[in-house]
């Protein structure tokens, strides 16, 4: 025990930047990010990027937003065709800010980064406090000192998260292409911030907004609820009335705001067409434009009579993991949230690189899992190689005509395998660390040799 205390106190004494300096570095990062985006917006690259299928999908392409507004101007309902799939609130927003769209998208990215920064800062404090209590209660085995987290190491995590989000090439591309995915990310980030800050109402409202925007985030209800229960020290038990009261409170706030937003959209255009045009489009996958996901080629090559079955299977696959993950990770709701966002962005029907950038922003938060990651090197290489190969094979297929669709498809497969390995590796590392925190880091056999841990 003293050894651990010694270890912690040794690191706690490390120099600590005052908050002002942290804020200054955040502003610096923001400035760099805005500069990069502004330069790209002004360059000829912006048009090329806006056409990339990896960056924009039929759901969030900027060209389609403009088309929707043009249709409104012509007096045609934007949902009467199959080009526009944004929500009515989105079209209402851009009706006013169409001329400042570039600024809107840069602000959205900044909001996401700042929200994540603040959320992670808060979360780290809670994690550290919790670790301190556990340590003081003496519930850690003696040899886990090097697994414990230190303030020095945690201090840089928020700024790293902001950097990971803002300067991630995926985010930059997404922003320059004016993919509305950036706005959805901002909503999700605000939801995370409100959840961590403990504001149940705001959290429910932002969750409803995120759901309204892209449907899948409704699975984030589980981690948000778990986190707030934990924060209020409410036991997660079916016998506890407080558990049921809070769950129904939060649930009704969420559903209430969802109903309000949906009705608001109805009154904006006075028609329910948007429901089929947005959510029906997400669920039934009629547009097979290539993207980085698994749906397009699968359903282009699907036998007609199996289509409904496989659509159900693939859509259930996206949301199904919520239940077992919530059970397994009920003590770790923020990690659960990370897992959920990652699973959604891998398995959703129209993924873009903007979705990936959101869960990748969380990776610095799990910096302490690094020593348990098994194949991070391989996975990073796969992801980088695939990102480079996407445009190459696209060019070979679509423009040069020297390759066919299978080439591009192969790269999407590799890219998705890479993402799956990345996420499952982090999941493995997280579980392993938790196991070590309980059972000790260096387990020895009776004969003194080292034990090997396996999953059974």
């Amino acid at each position: 025990m003293p050894a651990i205390f010694h270890y912690i106190s040794q690191h706690a004494r490390g120099e600590r930047l005052p908050p002002a300096e942290m804020a200054a570095s955040l502003v610096l990062v923001l400035l760099i990010a805005v500069t990069v985006r502004a330069v790209l917006f002004r360059s000829s690259l912006a048009e090329i990027i806006a056409e990339r299928v990896e960056v924009v999908s039929p759901l969030n392409g900027w060209k389609r937003v403009v088309e929707g507004l043009a249709l409104l101007d012509l007096g045609v309902s934007p949902y009467s065709g199959d080009v526009f799939h944004e929500t009515p609130l989105m079209i209402y927003l851009f009706h006013f800010v169409i001329d400042y769209s570039e600024i809107v998208f840069m602000i959205a990215d900044a909001i996401t980064a700042v929200a994540l920064y603040l959320a992670v800062q808060d979360y780290n404090k809670i994690v550290y406090r919790k670790q301190k209590y556990t340590l003081e209660a003496g519930r850690y085995p003696l040899d886990v000192a090097e697994l414990l987290r230190t303030p020095k190491e945690m201090m840089y995590i928020p700024i790293k998260v902001a950097v990971f989000y803002l300067l991630n090439p995926f985010t930059v591309l997404s922003c320059v292409a004016k993919s509305t995915c950036g706005l959805n990310n901002a909503v999700t980030a605000l939801f995370i911030l409100c959840t961590i800050k403990g504001s149940a109402l705001l959290s429910a409202i932002f969750l409803a907004l995120a759901t309204y925007q892209s449907l899948y985030p409704f699975t984030l209800f589980a981690p948000a609820l778990l986190y707030q229960l934990q924060r209020l020290y409410i036991p997660i038990s079916v016998h506890s009335p407080r558990f049921w009261i809070f769950t129904s409170q939060y649930g009704s706030m969420y559903l209430g705001s969802l109903v309000v937003i949906t009705c608001l959209s109805f009154f904006l255009l006075s028609s329910w067409d948007f429901v089929t045009s947005v959510y029906g489009f997400i669920l039934s996958v009629p547009d097979l434009t290539p993207n980085i996901g698994l749906f397009w080629y699968f359903f282009a090559e699907m036998f007609e009579h199996f289509r409904p079955f496989f659509i159900c299977v693939f859509q259930i696959n996206v949301v199904f993991y919520t239940i077992p993950l919530s059970v397994k990770l009920k003590e770790h709701p923020i990690f659960l949230m990370f897992m959920q966002i990652a699973v959604i962005s891998i398995f959703k029907s129209y993924p873009t690189v903007g979705d990936i950038s959101l869960y990748m922003a969380f990776l610095p938060l799990w910096h302490h899992l690094y020593r348990f990651l098994r194949n991070i090197f391989l996975v990073s290489i796969v992801l980088i190689a695939c990102s480079v190969l996407f445009p190459v094979l696209w060019h070979l297929w679509i423009y040069a005509g020297s390759a066919n669709s299978n080439f591009y498809y192969a790269i999407t497969l590799a890219f998705n395998v890479g993402q799956i390995l990345l996420v499952s590796d982090y999941f493995y590392a997280y579980l392993r660390r938790e196991h070590h925190l309980i059972h000790g880091l260096y387990l020895k056999k009776k004969d003194g040799t080292e034990e090997t841990l396996i999953l059974k």
Partner: protein, 669 residues
């Protein structure tokens, strides 16, 4: 001797007509002369076809048809008197009627009066030599019937001249107007000038339904299936994905009280190939079939050896009289064909009916009330005598056709004059100059192409030319683009003379995937002497592998866009003609014929779409499912298992020993 003459007669009939003609009592001497002249001009093309079997077979059909036909041969008194100049033929027909159609005669005999004939048939052929050296021939067969086909109480069941198959279709589906055209080839407005009746390549069908029709879409679907049976065409490929309801471009041509576009359906099949199987049913709708009259010229082996072929059927109600209290039905069957100077004409600027159709004309259709051939001699009369026409006839007429003052030589086939001493009319056209003339550009024409490269996006460019030197006029442009080319209407740009030319009216219906196509209609004002460029961007969709046609890399057709316009006529440009007219008629420069309605079809487009690999649906299903299973498997692994310390597995001997020890009830090792 008599047998030999009869044989010659049959041979003649076979070569010249290929089938039955009513008129057969002609003097033998003339017969032989005609035969010999035709033989010379065939240049021994057709002689080998005549064989003995053909002879017998032909004689059989001759007799058969003479036995069955007379019921149909019921002609109006006035037309009969025009048709047969020789009393011999007249009495022959009368005889046939009395002998072979007693049933139809009975009722009439009782009343003692000839029946009041309420239908009429007219036929005409216009031949226009084109400046390029090609020849444009346009046939028109018009049947008019004063009856009400749509009356539900009193069903019409007796059909005479009007084809029964079409009449029944009209009453069954409550059709107000029906227009269908089958076209092979593209009309080159720039070289040939405007056609009498434009048609887009492939099949075009547009129908106005009666406002009593409840489910228009269903009627439309059934109608297309019925028509595909009647015309042996793939009209059953018309479905909601290529049907549109234009708001302004296709207004009813006949008498109409319905102008609500809900009752209009329009579809084009640009990929449809038109050939003999479509011509034969079309010819069968004619009262004389192709056995007499102008229709004998319609032989598919010649018609389809041309650079443009278009046949159409137009059914519409017209006014019966000036008061227009009652309507009649009008059926116009038109056929236009352009023979190519080099392909058909052996590069010689000499044309004749025989060279074009390998037949000559010997008689009108006996059921026709008028039967005329018009030859455009405008070029000849302009002074520089470009074309020589033989045989020359005295009857000439002038008309303003498509804004142009044209002069025609008229051959009235009802009179014996045009046939001459040979009893056969073979019109010859001969150019004096052997090199082609430059044509004045048509006042309105358009062209269209796809821009861009790669299979992701593209641009449709439409160039519209207004060649009028000083008048601007509006045009209505209609585009129907299939759903798999996703149009972006915000990229629409209309530029005339380097400046933005905002359309004053836009009707746009965006497409819905697999349901209906894009429809874009707009009214654009064309400045004088200008080129207007209409550009719109599109995105190419990736389809399901079953949605591609068997040759996916051939590309997908986009139907022609349609330009409808009131074009200021070129007659108004001509200052000289006023000298011939009374001065009081032209105090104001605007004349009745100062503008005319014109429709121009642009080229259909052929667009490539990205294709999936058609050979590997199983592989794709397996591979994608594997990736999903990798995700599922790794998460499942982590979710259901826990970390445990690895225990070295016991050896085989020890395990067996433990089983034995358990049986013995002893604790295991």
């Amino acid at each position: 001797m008599a047998g030999a003459v009869f044989g010659m007669l049959l041979l003649f009939v076979f070569i010249n007509f290929g089938s039955l003609t009513i008129k057969s009592e002609v003097s033998h001497l003339d017969e032989e002369q005609i035969f010999s002249t035709s033989k010379v001009s065939t240049e021994e093309e057709h002689q080998n076809q005549v064989s003995d079997t053909n002879f017998h077979h032909h004689r059989d059909t001759l007799q058969d048809e003479e036995r069955t036909d007379p019921a149909e041969l019921w002609t109006s008194p006035e037309s009969r008197s025009q048709q047969y100049e020789t009393p011999l033929v007249e009495s022959h027909v009368e005889e046939g009627r009395q002998n072979e159609a007693p049933a139809t005669r009975n009722g009439l005999a009782e009343s003692g009066q000839p029946p009041k004939v309420n239908d009429r048939f007219q036929e005409e052929l216009v031949i226009r030599p084109l400046l390029s050296g090609d020849v444009y021939s346009s046939f028109q067969f018009r049947t008019r019937w004063d009856t009400d086909l749509l009356n539900k109480q009193k069903k019409v069941s007796h059909f005479r001249l009007f084809p029964k198959s079409l009449g029944q279709v009209i009453s069954k589906f409550s059709i107000r107007e029906l227009h269908i055209s089958f076209t092979q080839g593209f009309w080159r407005t720039q070289q040939w000038g405007p056609p009498f009746l434009p048609a887009p390549p492939g099949v075009e069908l547009w129908v106005w339904f009666e406002h009593t029709v409840q489910d228009v879409d269903r009627s439309w679907k059934e109608l297309t299936s019925v028509l595909s049976g009647i015309f042996c065409a793939s009209l059953n490929f018309i479905d909601s994905t290529n049907t549109i309801q234009p708001s302004a471009s296709f207004k009813p041509l006949g008498v109409a009280n319905v102008t609500d576009q809900r009752f209009l359906r329009y579809a084009v099949l640009p990929r449809e190939v038109v050939c003999t199987e479509n011509l034969t049913p079309w010819k069968k709708l004619l009262p004389c079939d192709s056995k007499a009259g102008l229709a004998v010229l319609l032989k598919s082996e010649k018609l389809f050896h041309s650079s443009f072929h278009s046949q159409a059927v137009h059914i519409q109600p017209i006014c019966q009289d000036l008061q227009c209290k009652k309507t009649s039905w009008e059926l116009r069957q038109t056929l236009s064909v352009v023979f190519d100077l080099h392909a058909t004409g052996q590069s010689k600027r000499e044309w004749s009916l025989f060279k074009m159709f390998s037949r000559t004309l010997t008689e009108p259709c006996p059921l026709a009330s008028t039967s005329k051939v018009y030859v455009d001699i405008t070029e000849t009369s302009k002074g520089d005598d470009l074309i020589e026409v033989a045989p020359a006839v005295t009857l000439q007429m002038q008309a303003v056709v498509l804004g142009d003052r044209r002069k025609y030589m008229v051959y009235d086939l009802m009179t014996p004059e045009p046939y001459g001493s040979l009893r056969s009319l073979n019109i010859l056209l001969k150019w004096k100059l052997q090199d082609s003339e430059e044509m004045l550009p048509p006042i309105l024409h358009a062209e269209r192409y796809v821009g861009g490269y790669g299979l992701q996006t593209g641009e449709i460019h439409t160039l519209i030319y207004n060649n009028h030197p000083f008048r601007a006029f509006p045009i209505l442009l209609m585009e129907s683009v299939p759903w798999y080319l996703r149009l972006y209407i915000h990229t629409l740009s209309v530029i005339s003379k380097g400046r933005e030319n905002k359309p004053s009216y836009i009707h746009y219906r965006p497409s819905k995937d697999r349901q209906y196509p894009h429809l874009l209609e707009m009214l654009v004002q064309l400045p004088p002497n200008s080129i207007t460029k209409v550009t719109v961007q599109f995105e190419r969709a990736l389809l399901k592998w079953t949605e591609y046609p068997p040759d996916p890399n051939h590309g997908f057709y986009v139907s022609s866009s349609v330009l409808s316009a009131q074009v200021p006529s070129a007659v108004a440009l001509d200052a000289n003609h006023t000298t011939e007219e009374p001065l009081f008629t032209n105090l104001f420069p605007i004349m009745e014929e100062s503008s005319y309605f014109m429709r121009v079809y642009t080229e259909p487009l052929l667009v490539n779409l990205p294709t999936p690999d058609f050979s590997m649906p199983y592989n794709v299903i397996c591979l994608t499912c594997t990736v999903v299973a990798v995700g599922y498997g790794s998460l499942y692994n982590l979710l259901t298992r826990t970390f445990q310390v690895e225990e070295p597995s016991a050896g085989l001997a020890k395990r067996i020993a433990n089983v034995i020890r358990r049986l013995r009830g002893v604790p295991p090792l």
